[in-house]
Symmetry: C2
Subunit: 268 residues, 2 copies
C-alpha cells in the first residue's frame, strides 16, 4: 500500500477502516496491529455483538494511535435490526472519514452447530440464520460500504474476506461452516471480477488459538475430526492470532496479491 | 446402478425418487427420462412452484410407466410454508415407497436478480430469500429425505445436486447464483464425506436452452456477459435439456463417479 506523505516508518496514510467481529480473537488482534499504522485523520469503525469488550478495545485503540477516531457499534449482524444498525453506522461514519483509502475487513463469522451432521440439519430457521449472519451480512456490509465510500479518483479500496481452508475443502460435521465459507469466497471473487479497481482478498488465517477452536475440539460431532482438533492444540500447532493477523497486514502492505485470490496463512 | 430382478433392458428396480424444480426445463426433461426406467412399485415425488404444469407432467408420467406412482406437490421451497409442505410430503410419501433405492435430485434453483451488480446487493431480505430457496431448501429436503428413508441393509441412496460451472468460477453480475452454487457444491461434498454409503453427485448440466438462459441473455447487467449468453444462443451452443438429462441418467446408471464429485456435462 502507498504511504501517506509524512507518515512514519510502517505507517500508512489516512484510512477509513471497517472491521467486523472486532471484539475478540483474530479481529481484536488485527485491530491492534492496524490502528497504530493508520495515519492522522483515520477512522476505524469496529463492529461486534458483544458491547463491553468492543468498548474496551475502542478505548484501548484510541490511546494507541494519535489522530485516530475509533467508533464502535455493538450489533448482531445475523438479525435484521443489527444489520440495519451496522449499515446505518457505515453510512454515517464513512462520509466523515478520509476519502483516500477504504479498508473493509469482513471477519465476523460463526461455526454453526458443529455437533450436528448434515443429516441432522433439518431446521430451515437454523440454516437461514446461519447464512444471514455468515453470508448475507458480509455481502450487505460490503456493498453498502463500497456504495457509501464511492469511487473517487486516486483513492484505493481494499476488501478482505476472512476465509478458511473450509472454503476449499469439506470437513465432516462442518457442513454449514464449509458451505458458508465457500459461498463467501465465491461472492468476493465475483466482486473482484466486477470491480477491477477494488482490491479483494480472501485470507484464510489458519487454525487460530481462539474460542472457535475450543468449540471445534470439544463440540465437533465427528469423533475423528474432534480428535484432529485436539491434536492441533496438544502438538502446539494452533496459530497465535497476532502472528496470523501480522501476515494479513503484510499482505495488505505488499499489496501484490491477485485480486480475488484465496491466500492461506501457510502459503506465505 | 444395480438393476432389479426381472427388470427389462434399461429398466431399474423399484425406486423412491424425489425431484425438485420438476415442472419445466431440465427437471421436466429428467423426469421424462427417469419415469420409464423405474421398476414396478416405484414412487416419484415431483416438486415445483407452478401447480398446473406440475399436474400436467404428473398425469403424463403416470401414463408412461406401468406400476409407477407419481405424486406432486406445488410449493415454493423458498418460503417457510412451502418448505414445510415439501418436507411433510417427503415424510408421507417415502415410507410408502420401495425401500431398496432412494434417488433425490435437487434441481430447483433461481438466478436471482442478475441485472444487479455486487454493489447493488444491499437488501438483506433479497439475499436471505435467495439463500433460503437455493441453499437452505436443498439442505433441508436432503436431510429430511435421508432421515425419512433411513439406512437399510442392502439399499442404495443417491443424492444429486444440480450444480453449475458457476459453482467453480465467478461470473460478473451473478454474485448470488455463483455463491449459492458454490455453497451447494460444498455442502454436498460434506455429505459425501460424512456418509460413505450415500452416493453424492454435483452435476453441472451445461448451458441449457431454458427460460433461465433467456433471462441470462436478456437481463444480465454486465453487457459483455449478456453478449456471451446471446452468442451461445446464436451459435447454437445451448444444450437441449434432454441431451444433458440423458448424460445425468447415464452417470447414474454407470454409477462410477467418485461420491461428492463435481461432474460437468462437457467432462463426459
Amino acid at each position: 500500500m502507498e504511504r501517506g506523505p509524512g507518515a512514519g516508518a510502517g505507517r500508512w496514510g489516512p484510512v477509513s477502516c471497517v472491521l467486523t467481529g472486532a471484539s475478540r480473537g483474530f479481529g481484536r488482534s488485527l485491530a491492534r496491529l492496524l490502528a497504530p499504522r493508520f495515519g492522522e485523520g483515520s477512522v476505524l469503525l469496529l463492529l461486534a455483538r458483544s458491547a463491553a469488550p468492543l468498548a474496551d478495545l475502542a478505548a484501548e485503540l484510541r490511546g494507541s494511535a494519535a489522530g485516530l477516531r475509533v467508533e464502535c457499534v455493538a450489533a448482531d449482524l445475523g438479525c435484521e435490526q443489527g444489520l440495519r444498525q451496522a449499515t446505518a453506522a457505515l453510512r454515517e461514519v464513512l462520509p466523515s472519514g478520509p476519502p483516500g483509502r477504504l479498508l473493509l475487513i469482513n471477519n465476523a463469522g460463526s461455526l454453526g452447530d458443529i455437533s450436528k451432521s448434515f443429516l441432522d440439519l433439518t431446521d430451515p430457521d437454523e440454516i437461514n440464520s446461519y447464512f444471514a449472519f455468515n453470508v448475507t451480512s458480509a455481502l450487505c456490509l460490503t456493498s453498502t460500504a463500497l456504495q457509501t465510500f464511492g469511487k473517487r479518483p486516486g483513492s484505493s479500496r481494499t476488501v478482505v474476506n476472512i476465509s478458511s481452508l473450509c472454503a476449499l475443502k469439506p470437513f465432516k460435521s462442518w457442513a454449514l461452516y464449509c458451505s458458508g465459507k465457500a459461498s463467501r469466497d465465491m461472492m468476493f471473487q465475483v466482486l473482484a471480477l466486477e470491480e477491477p479497481d477494488i482490491r479483494v482478498l480472501n485470507y484464510a488465517p489458519g487454525p487460530l488459538d481462539t474460542d472457535m477452536q475450543l468449540l471445534a475440539r470439544t463440540k465437533t460431532g465427528d469423533p475423528e475430526m474432534r480428535q484432529q482438533f485436539q491434536s492441533l492444540q496438544e502438538s502446539r500447532k494452533l496459530i497465535d492470532c497476532t502472528v496470523s493477523a501480522q501476515k494479513l497486514v503484510n499482505l495488505l502492505e505488499e499489496d501484490t496479491f491477485p485480486s480475488g485470490a484465496h491466500v492461506d496463512f501457510y502459503d506465505i
